[in-house]
């Protein structure tokens, strides 16, 4: 049954990573320039989840666990959504003249993802609680 705890921990880890990715996306939603100061709006990140955990501690965790396979970068182009001709980063000419390029983050979507991940995290906590109760029941046989 210790394998079950490993699995629930892996699930919690994955869901926490999803919340972290959503937080990072919301935080970076307004970033127009990158770390080097170049005009390069933030790109949305996605946690790609896969079944099975090759780095799991037990055989069961490797077989039934879950892992974050990759934090992928969303390549969708930046959206020239905001009209702000006085902004220093606004398009100087072209069809989007006066618009500021914004990241491809949809904050509403990120909020929903974070909520869903939080609920899934809770489900894993419940599973771990049930496992703990079963372990306690098994221990009562000794006394």
């Amino acid at each position: 049954m210790y394998g079950a705890l490993d699995i629930s921990t892996a699930g919690m880890l994955v869901q926490r990573t999803r919340v972290e990715v959503a937080s990072a996306n919301i935080a970076g939603a307004g970033a127009v320039r990158d770390a080097d100061g170049n005009l390069n709006p933030y790109r949305r990140r996605t946690a790609l989840i896969a079944a099975g955990d090759p780095e799991g501690r037990s055989e069961f965790a490797r077989q039934f666990g879950v892992r974050v396979a990759e934090i992928a970068v969303d390549d969708a182009p930046a959206q020239p959504r905001r009209y702000d001709p006085d902004h220093p980063d606004a398009y100087p000419d072209g069809p989007y003249k006066g618009y500021v390029a914004e990241s491809n983050v949809n904050t509403v979507l990120e909020q929903i993802n974070a909520m869903e991940a939080a609920r899934a995290y809770e489900a894993n906590v419940v599973a771990a609680e049930v496992t703990k109760q079963m372990m306690a029941v098994a221990l009562r046989l000794i006394g």
Binding site: M1, G3, A4, L5, I7, S8, A10, G11, V14, Q15, R18, I49, A50, A51, E59, F60, Q63, F64, G65, V66, E116, A117, A120, A123, N124, V126, A127, A128, V130, T131, Q133, M134, V137, A138, R140, L141
Partner: protein
Amino acid sequence: MVATEVYPDRAKAVAAQPYAQRRVSDSVTSDFAGEGPGIGWRADCGMNRRMITADVTSSGAIPALEAMMRFAGQRQVVLAGNIANISTPDYRQQDLSVAGFRAALADAVEARRSETGGARGELPFAGTREVRMGPDGSLRVTPTLAEGSILFHDRGNRNVERLMQDQVENATMFRVAADLLKSRYDLLRAAIAERV
């Protein structure tokens, strides 16, 4: 002597088993008899010591209850895996068949009854098709795909409510088996202590 005559083949059957597959009672008493792990009894003992403890710990409902606890423990692992993969795309829910376990356990009890004429002796239960005891004592779990919910857009068939229900039922089954097993052990303890 009487015990070995009643079950002449049993000690041999136990001796033929790989060490890890044997019950604790077998190995404990064979070590106690001062012999290697391959032999469960000695002809010159005058009395089969293995049989004494084996009849106490492996008769009646105890092995069936132990099997129940082991199965519920393994099913909890599979259910926890389903919950951990609740947001994994392309993941299909897995499960261990409770009905299959019940049928296999009933077969084992029936086989023991037809062999020994009652609830005595070793229970010939080796798991189900999904939960197998390996030769090295490890459990090999090969769950089958469970009936899931509708297929979502990410090709997953999660069903949170059903998962929670399964988990509660499984934990209850585990608890029932553990409580019954505890009452059996308490009975044994009372008998050993000659107390009521």
